[in-house]
């Protein structure tokens, strides 16, 4: 298996949650994704995200994909 490819995508889920006063558990319930997977996403350990997950998060947090994912040069 090749070494994990590096990327420079940062996930701003913690900031969005703080701005909206929402907990990770609550978001997990609303989105229908396990808290473990959302935690992986929040901590930047995810390697990929489904469009369906991204859509659900954006819907619940009332944001755009660009608010959640940013390129960190």
């Amino acid at each position: 298996m090749p070494p994990e490819e590096e990327h420079r995508i940062a996930v701003r889920l913690d900031k969005l949650l703080a701005d909206r006063g929402m907990t990770l558990t609550e978001l997990a319930d609303r989105v229908g994704v396990t808290i473990v997977n959302l935690s992986i996403l929040k901590n930047g350990h995810a390697r990929a995200i489904r469009f369906s997950t991204l859509s659900a998060i954006c819907r619940e947090l009332d944001c755009q994909p660009g608010d959640l994912l940013v390129h960190d040069p």
């Binding site: 298996m1 997977n37 350990h45 995810a46 390697r47 990929a48 489904r50």
Partner: protein, 204 residues
């Protein structure tokens, strides 16, 4: 650890049997080198068309009264016998079998390591891809044993009245060539499977 499924245990049992047979063959080869027997023999092939010391006409024209039935094709199969061989002669006689059993023992042990990982229910790990590639290359190596055998036979016959015999390996190992390539292809499948699994592990 939970008891593995019956199919995995059967597979492990078969592989253990293979390891046992391969190691037994290895011991027998080593015994053949170091034991002092009266006559050592080896099944070989001789090409009568390229051998000046063979029969005058290896493929005589089939003649005879009408209705005569005979075998026109000369036999290529021979048995080489060495009377009271010394250590080097015994080694040359056993060398192809020794290489085969060493390679098969290595294949069996690596296969056993691979099968044991099946207990976890996830065979698509990088280690298995490497193990299968190693087995594939070992099988390709087995396919080259007839060349080694021809060389050892020529060394054995050099300086003897049979020096001019055109000899070749009595055994055909072309199966190892095809199996080796098949196993290498399987190793690539495992490598790709491991990558797919790794991708899905980080998918949210």
């Amino acid at each position: 650890m939970a008891k593995p499924p019956a199919s995995i245990r059967v597979l492990e049992g078969i592989t253990w049997t293979g390891v046992g047979f391969a190691l037994l063959g290895l011991v027998m080869c080593l015994h053949g080198i170091f034991s002092d027997s009266g006559v050592d023999t080896r099944h070989i092939g001789v090409n009568p068309y390229q051998t000046t010391t063979a029969a005058d006409d290896p493929a005589p024209a089939p003649t005879g009264p009408p209705g005569t039935v005979r075998i026109a094709m000369p036999s290529f199969d021979r048995t080489l016998a060495v009377i009271d061989p010394d250590l080097s002669q015994r080694f040359l006689l056993v060398l192809p079998d020794l290489l085969l059993t060493v390679a098969l023992s290595a294949v069996a042990v690596i296969l056993l390591q691979t099968v044991r990982t099946f207990r976890e229910g996830d065979p698509f790990i990088p280690g298995n891809a490497r193990r299968l590639a190693a087995i594939g290359f070992l099988l390709l190596g087995i396919a080259g044993i007839p060349q080694v055998e021809a060389l050892s036979l020529n060394l054995l016959l050099s300086g003897t009245p049979l020096e001019d015999l055109s000899v070749f390996a009595g055994e055909d190992f072309s199966w190892a060539l095809f199996t080796g390539f098949a196993v290498l292809a399987l190793a690539e499948v495992f490598r790709q499977g491991g990558r797919l699994r790794a991708d899905t592990q980080g998918l949210v």
